[in-house]
Symmetry: C2
Subunit: 117 residues, 2 copies
């Protein structure tokens, strides 16, 4: 692999699997490219909810808007420039608010492969 730069405009957004809401993910690096991590951008419409049990460690950096994540540890909320780490095995409910949200994410290992297992 080589050093690469990515902008949100490089992401081909697809609806997150298993949900029908206005939540989209677009990988820019994943299992097709030979790196150990998946890198991508996420886009959340306003007032969306996504519940899942993490099959990978997922690190989200909020770029725009705000996300709240509820888990057994309580609820955390992050705005621009803040990070939420969702460890593998945790059951989480991710919520966007009135302004929606845009995120950058890194997962280890590749989330699409982990979901397919």
């Amino acid at each position: 692999m080589r050093v690469q730069k990515f902008a949100v405009s490089d992401a081909a957004f697809e609806r997150s699997p298993g949900q029908t809401g206005d939540i989209f993910a677009g990988n820019v690096v994943d299992q097709r490219h030979g790196a150990p991590v998946t890198i991508g951008f996420g886009r959340y419409g306003k007032n969306q909810t996504l519940e899942e049990t993490m099959t990978v460690d997922d690190v989200m950096v909020v770029l725009e808007g705000r996300l709240s994540v509820s888990s057994k540890a309580g609820t955390v909320s992050a705005g621009p420039g803040e990070i939420i780490h969702m460890p593998k095995g945790e059951t989480v409910t991710i919520r966007s608010h009135e302004e929606g949200a845009v995120t950058a994410y890194v997962t280890y290992p590749h989330w699409q492969e982990a979901r397919a297992d």
Copy 2:
């Protein structure tokens, strides 16, 4: 581990090893915490230069300012909301510019352990 949220104010910044410039890194999750990735924030003063050969895959999300990264593939430049992926094994020169930069980063595996090997 539990779900956690981090802001740049949570990072205890230390000068990056092997350099004497105005470049600091502050891990918020690393080998002490049981996750497979290191998560942190970086801070670059203006017009700084850091050259290194990557011992890990490093994903930087630029939060403020701008960074340029030169490698055998050429030079890429990223501003707020953009990502630079520096794969393991690449030799890179990271440059900040007049406005400095703040980043969020994720490395796999843990960069402090990889440097100690």
